[in-house]
Symmetry: C2
Subunit: 381 residues, 2 copies
Amino acid sequence: MSALQFEIQATCRETGARAGLLHTAHGTIETPVFMPVGTQGTVKGLAPRDLVNDLDAKIILANTYHLYLRPGHERIERFGGLHRFMSWPRPILTDSGGFQVFSLDTLRKVTEEGVLFRSHLNGDAHFFSPESTVDVQLALGSDIMMVLDECLAYPATHHDALESMHRTINWARVGYKHYLQREKGRHCALFPIVQGSMYPDLRTACAEALLELDAAGYAIGGLSVGEPRDLSQEMVAVTAPLLPPDRPRYVMGVGMPEELPQYVSQGVDMMDCVLPTRNARNGYLFTSEGKVVIKQARYIEDEGPLDPACNCYTCRTFTRAYLRHLFQAGEILFSVLATLHNIRYFLDMMRGIRHAILVGKFPEYLRSFQTGSQARPLTES
Amino acid sequence: MSALQFEIQATCRETGARAGLLHTAHGTIETPVFMPVGTQGTVKGLAPRDLVNDLDAKIILANTYHLYLRPGHERIERFGGLHRFMSWPRPILTDSGGFQVFSLDTLRKVTEEGVLFRSHLNGDAHFFSPESTVDVQLALGSDIMMVLDECLAYPATHHDALESMHRTINWARVGYKHYLQREKGRHCALFPIVQGSMYPDLRTACAEALLELDAAGYAIGGLSVGEPRDLSQEMVAVTAPLLPPDRPRYVMGVGMPEELPQYVSQGVDMMDCVLPTRNARNGYLFTSEGKVVIKQARYIEDEGPLDPACNCYTCRTFTRAYLRHLFQAGEILFSVLATLHNIRYFLDMMRGIRHAILVGKFPEYLRSFQTGSQARPLTES
């Protein structure tokens, strides 16, 4: 009945972690999964064949706000949807645009009906409603869509967070109703988003209200907005257990590599973040030996691979010294190779986590990871 | 005896065109050949695997000036040379740095001993002599090196061009002598460069003087410096027949796709130009249907491939509309995909030219190309 079928393959005996398969119209996603971000219809610096052949990414995320403005969702719909437009055959998750809109300096007005904002490209006025963002995502042909939510900055008062939470719940109801009328036969899911700032009582109330929608999956939003990291973890710890155990749980916009196992241990199945891609372009690289800031002079004559434990094209082929040279020279190839590696690092970590859950060793994985004795995840045989 | 072995496989019965094999320590180059430019130790936007797997480029060019300044030729030598530093297993041709130095606004002084200049990176003073540029290129481990030459701007008076020609000849003698003392066992060639501005008598005199060096190959330089295109062709027509028929002839810094067959018809075996790579990044794409300026509104909804006659990854996979979107959005992937296609276009054209020579149909190729009935070269098999 649902557009998504979520099949849990293994659950951890000590934590909330689970490994599963999320079946969509464009293929199956092995969970827990980290989703690379493809903001404007491309994961910056990578071609679809890189994502498939080098990284075996099973799903990517695209940003509704950006694609709505340019090239326009109607144009993409005329091309048969975003999969075809960008030549990406696998599943796509789209956000609702809310996060970007609420990050704009040019945000104009939030009402019960939606949000009025100005384009960062040309200043034109636009309006997103819970219904219109569903329509935009349907036009994009997304496999997993998000409801419009209000994403509060941190910190927010309890009063503001309460009011905002009610708006998010209301928008979710309106958007979900619209989705049920429009989605027929399209094989796409719509996830409501739990908000509530950093207040456990609001997170709880919001989750409980959204459960009424009986959605195919649920997201936890409003994190990574400047709060301390333990607060993000705490909000997920409060919220995740309230969400249906037989549906995927998605924490939006996280996280650092060392946080991923923590979220998984709380029962989170899906995550995304611009960290690996953005940091790559800025020369911040994640490795099994820790962070590499490639511009540092220590790498000038470093003949070693970026990450000796990594089997990606970048690490198999080039030295740190060469990567540093490319970075210093401002070469495009640096962004390409660095992005390839950073995403691979995140995906390999998730594959290691998934493997540990499947073989019943996630508690050991988590302990060794926490003590730092295992900077690198277990790899599949 | 020579580091290069040039084997002529076929010569055209009506023109000076020939097809050959140029054997180097890092592999064999099928000629005539167009060499993609890898200025700073990377062909901008492409990884070595793209150059090998997608384009089958047999040789690339690297710029001595840039690598000398950053990361430094001594550093590259410690890494075992440029091939190893950039993970490029095939032949490399390096220029002498002269062209870049003479293009600098900060050029300080030219003497009989060499040229004093300031780095465009930090203003530091440096000196290139005919000997030192050989040493730098030896450190890089280039397969085909160039002598230091003085590259005059256009137009130049006959008096200035004569004086400059004598300096270039003198530098070639000094540089070649130094090369003969230094190159032993290194399997690298050094090409002298014919100068003489746009004066046929000077081109002739320069070529004749350089023949004394009995080099493994000769270059024709000082073109593409702002002169009308028919003048470039005329200078090559004057010079090429004077060069040894059993050695490769290399015209530096040319040209437009439509000019390549013309140069080949004059007996040119090697060419290079930044045109396909630089134009790609600026959204100017070469196709069998003519130039595509991808930012134009006409491509907004164009569902066709960039070039229907091209089999490159870009043309096989994406629409013009998507490429335009990437360009407008400033995405890195645009530069990658556009560069991949533009170089493929040049290399496929050269493969078509070579095939026509081998099967004895180059005159027909040339005629059909000139009349425009064959925008696309003959393809092999």
